[in-house]
């Protein structure tokens, strides 16, 4: 694949620079750390700060979710690589409005370690930090070992709901409990049709043969649970719905939010082709779709494929999901 770049080593800095220029009404770069993107209105005095962070290459995640009633500060890592402990710390400092900071991030070894170290350093500054670790990716571990699962696009719901809760003036404990409830209500699955390439490496990290697909693929090309012959969109959609809902015992009549995200190189129209079938399958199971998001919300460079996330709602989560936000990602 041909691509737009200058020096591969500068891609992350140039991405952040372009992003902040384009969305200067919403975000700015932290003056003390060029790898921290801060919402224009942050920190809000007396409000719990919301922080996230992760590797680059997933745009609009993570920076695209910095904004009003969303994430206050985002730590930016190299492509597919956790941000530094220092960047998480600087994001925590930037988001701190005196009411504590909730770091809502995905379950990856590097992020776990760096957030832990940043939390320890922030404690020395007197900042109260609590965390929620997203683990919505069904195929990355069995249900009995949910704590081992990766965090994927369900993180967006966790930020949205956690951010709205904080904006209401909730305490740190309440924000954490609500964000935890949001991610506990999420199940996701990814299907990959083609690999992606780190520009500095220059060749794909893995291969998916023509005519094949990888069910359960991760956001960095982590191999899925099944390598199969590529099927029709309807069959793939059925499979995705089955995987997420079989993992999540939801009673008929439950309202859900649905997010279908492209992985980078899949055309948006194909996402709608998938969504057409996904929604009818969800409805066929007796569930009601309260709100749907279809587009490139959480990508993996130019991977071909899509993810499905289903969030089980209750009155509280539904109200928070519907709170108006201003960020580049939605």
């Amino acid at each position: 694949m041909q691509r737009f770049f200058n020096n591969p080593d500068d891609i992350v800095d140039e991405t952040v620079a372009g992003f902040v220029k384009a969305h200067r009404d919403l975000v700015r770069i932290d003056p003390s750390n060029p790898r921290v993107v801060v919402a224009r209105n942050a920190p809000v005095k007396g409000k719990v700060g919301i922080v996230t962070g992760g590797g680059s290459g997933h745009e609009p995640a993570f920076i695209g979710y910095a904004g009003r009633n969303m994430v206050d500060a985002v730590a930016v890592g190299e492509l597919f690589s956790s941000p530094t402990a220092k960047s998480f710390l600087d994001a925590i400092r930037a988001a701190d409005g005196g009411a504590g900071v909730a770091v809502l991030y995905g379950n990856y070894a590097g992020d776990n370690m760096n957030v832990k170290m940043a939390r320890k350093m922030a404690a020395r500054d007197g900042i109260d930090v609590a965390t929620v670790v997203a683990n919505d990716d069904v195929c990355s571990a069995p249900l009995a070992e949910r704590e081992k699962r990766r965090g994927v696009a369900g993180e967006i719901f966790m930020w949205k709901i956690g951010g709205a809760k904080a904006a209401e003036g909730a305490s740190l404990d309440e924000v954490i409990a609500t964000a935890q409830k949001a991610i506990d209500g999420c199940r996701s699955v990814g299907v990959g049709l083609g690999p992606c390439t780190l520009p500095a490496v220059g060749h794909p990290n893995f291969q998916i043969e023509p005519g094949r697909m990888e069910v359960g693929i991760g956001h960095h090309g982590e191999p899925g649970t099944r390598l199969e012959i590529l099927k029709s969109a309807n069959e793939v959609a059925d499979d995705m719905v089955r995987i997420v809902l079989d993992d999540h015992d939801l009673p008929a009549g439950r309202e859900v939010a649905v997010l279908v995200s492209g992985l980078g190189a899949t055309p948006i129209n194909e996402l709608y082709v998938l969504y057409d079938r996904i929604e009818s399958q969800i409805v066929a199971r007796g569930l009601t779709v309260h709100r749907a998001y279809v587009g490139n919300y959480f990508t993996s460079l130019e991977m071909v494929g899509a993810t499905l996330t289903v969030l089980a709602l209750d009155g509280d989560l539904k109200r928070l999901l519907d709170v108006e936000t201003a960020c580049a990602g939605f």
Binding site: G55, E78, F80, S82, T84, A85, M113, L198, A200, H220
Partner: protein, 219 residues
């Protein structure tokens, strides 16, 4: 220079940075097989950051403990991934091994290696056999200990430590990952070497080369 002192550390870090730069793509490739493909970048950038941080220090004034602490901070500030905190912790633990001493004797090489291994173990909480960089570090520390107990010369101790790390890095291909991103693959991680163990073996081979160069120059 017949000791692990500040000039030794500066030489060692420069050599490690060079070797890791040469192996950047190979390590990324290994990582791409079972991880996310960033290991070579993290390692090469991390030690480049160490070298750049230490570029202007006054070797006559800075004790090795301070040099290692600065190297640790460089890792923490410049490297994310798992590598940042793990090597930051390793370097910090190594700085503690010196206390306020101006150097460690080359006959205490195993103390230096073990301190680095300990720092990684404390931060990463991996066990031997989990298919991580710790496997290579522990193998090297044990080999160095054993050779020192036998009264081997520093050059031989370092060589055996490097060989043990390389053998263990190869052996990680027979292990099932239970830490880090490769752990998600379980059995599918079989047959692939752990990139962290391979880069650890590169660092230990570099240490061996630096030590034996010094031994040759000795009167």
């Amino acid at each position: 220079m017949q000791a692990i002192d500040t000039p030794f550390l500066l030489l060692f870090f420069r050599a490690v940075a060079r070797r890791l730069e040469e192996n950047r793509e190979a390590l990324c490739g290994l990582d791409g097989e079972i991880g996310d493909g960033d290991h070579g970048t993290s390692m090469a950038n991390g030690f480049a950051a160490v070298v750049s941080t230490l570029r202007d220090i006054d070797a006559a004034k800075e004790p090795p403990s301070a040099v290692l602490r600065k190297a640790s901070v460089a890792f923490l500030s410049d490297v994310g991934a798992t590598v940042g905190p793990l090597y930051a912790s390793a370097l910090l633990q190594a700085s503690r091994a010196f206390d306020d001493r101006p150097d460690l004797s080359l006959s205490e090489l195993s103390t230096f290696i073990l301190a680095l291994a300990d720092g990684i173990a404390v931060r990463g909480k991996a066990q031997a056999g989990d298919k991580t960089m710790l496997d290579a570090w522990l193998a090297a520390a044990h080999a160095a200990r054993a050779q020192e107990a036998l009264g081997a010369r520093p050059g031989h101790v370092a060589l055996k430590a490097a060989e043990a790390a390389e053998a263990e890095a190869r052996a990680t291909a027979t292990m099932i990952a239970s830490r880090g991103r490769a752990a998600l693959l379980k059995e599918r991680s079989l047959g692939h070497q752990d990139p962290g163990a391979v880069s650890a073996a590169i660092i230990l081979r570099t240490l061996s080369d630096v030590v034996s160069d010094l031994a040759e120059q000795a009167p």
